[in-house]
Amino acid sequence: MAAREDLVDKASEIARERGTLYDYVNETLQEAIRAKSLGLILKEIIDERWILEAAKDAGFTLVSERLWFDIVERVYQHWGKRWMKELWYETGKWYGRYYGDLDKFRDVMKKIMWDLSEFEISSENGILIVRCISPKFSHSYSDLFSKFLEGALNVFGYDFIGGDVLKGVINLKFRESKGD
């Protein structure tokens, strides 16, 4: 099989540490075919791995969706929404500071928030619009998640000016802070 010389040289160099070039190429091609069977190409899988690795470093964790929503609802009922909203807002601010850039924040949220079917941030006539949809969100969870977004957007220099929060649908509007 013929392949680009520079790539073959690099692969040979790596293969030397691990075995023969034949075995290494064999493994690579097998993984390329396996990636295809998962509906992706290797590049996409490696990109995804990078994002998930970064999410881990940023303090995210995996939890059962049912368990998570159940706990949130219980605490919401028990401790009241004020405390919860504050917690989500502060968490949003923390992640806003952590990612430090609106585009990066948006890209990460899109990738790791599996429970969101849509997440868009767009700009119309100087107004920043954040839309997200998740059929799985309860009304209270939608409310909390909107506070999370508000916290992050505040860090990026945007003030909340209005919007709607319905069960599973969040539509928020922000304007650039005057002080900035």
């Binding site: 099989m1 013929a2 392949a3 680009r4 010389e5 790539l7 073959v8 690099k10 692969a11 790596i14 070039l21 034949y22 190429v25 064999n26 493994e27 690579t28 091609l29 097998q30 993984e31 390329a32 075919i33 990636a35 295809k36 998962l38 992706l40 190409i41 290797l42 590049k43 899988i45 490696i46 995804e48 791995r49 990078w50 998930l52 999410a55 881990k56 303090g59 995210f60 964790t61 995996l62 939890v63 059962s64 969706e65 049912r66 368990l67 998570w68 706990i71 949130v72 219980r74 605490v75 028990h78 401790w79 917690l87 989500w88 968490t91 923390w94 790791i112 928030m113 599996w114 429970d115």
Partner: protein, 198 residues
């Protein structure tokens, strides 16, 4: 240079069966075979730079997709811990029941999803790879049953107990009952024996 090989290219040894499968994949993707192979080799180099093998990366992706399919979501751990800390003193038993039930459900998912492999081994692998706050996860099988051990430097005592309930739920569904356990904050040891009813 071997005959028929263009300048800037080199011959690479590859198994014939993979060659035809790859050629098929390149056709489906609508790409020339050579660029498809070049992309794969580029990713080998990239994976190497990440100190990972391609297999590890694809395995990880596959397990994460399994977790997604099983209804797991990615959420800020600090927020989850905050909620547990609030609720635990007053609702300890309720929370333990929720985690146990969640484990039982997950065990059922494994029974349905993992049919050609050992489900306990697969569960151990999933915990190792996707439980980001755990270290040294070990499921050891012997003639008497299974011993589970794990260490975490970040797990609170409440979370340690809840994780144990989750694991107990999973193992119950997979046909094991807990016969012994020992735990400290962030440290778990559980022994399971095959249930007699199985």
């Amino acid at each position: 240079m071997p005959k028929g090989v263009r300048k800037g290219k080199k011959l690479v040894p590859a198994p014939e069966d993979l060659f035809s499968k790859l050629s098929e994949a390149a056709n489906i993707a609508g790409k020339p075979f050579s660029s498809y192979v070049a992309e794969a080799l580029e990713q080998v180099v990239r994976a190497h730079e990440m100190n990972r093998s391609l297999k590890e990366i694809v395995d990880f992706y596959e397990l994460m997709m399994m977790q997604k399919e099983a209804g797991l979501v990615i959420t800020p751990s600090e927020t989850l811990n905050n909620l547990i800390e609030r609720l635990y003193p007053e609702e300890k038993e309720l929370l333990q029941t929720i985690w146990f039930d969640s484990g039982k459900w997950y065990g059922k998912y494994l029974l349905v999803k993992v049919r050609n492999e050992d489900q306990v081994e697969m569960f151990g692998e999933i915990l190792k790879v996707t439980s980001w706050n755990l270290k040294d996860v070990e499921f050891k099988k012997d003639a008497n049953g299974v011993t589970f051990r794990c260490i975490s430097f970040t797990l609170s005592l409440e979370n340690t107990v809840l994780l144990m309930k989750f694991i107990e739920g999973v193992m119950n569904t997979l046909g094991y009952e807990m016969v012994n356990q020992d735990h400290l904050r962030g440290m778990i040891r559980m022994e399971f024996r095959k249930s007699e009813k199985d």
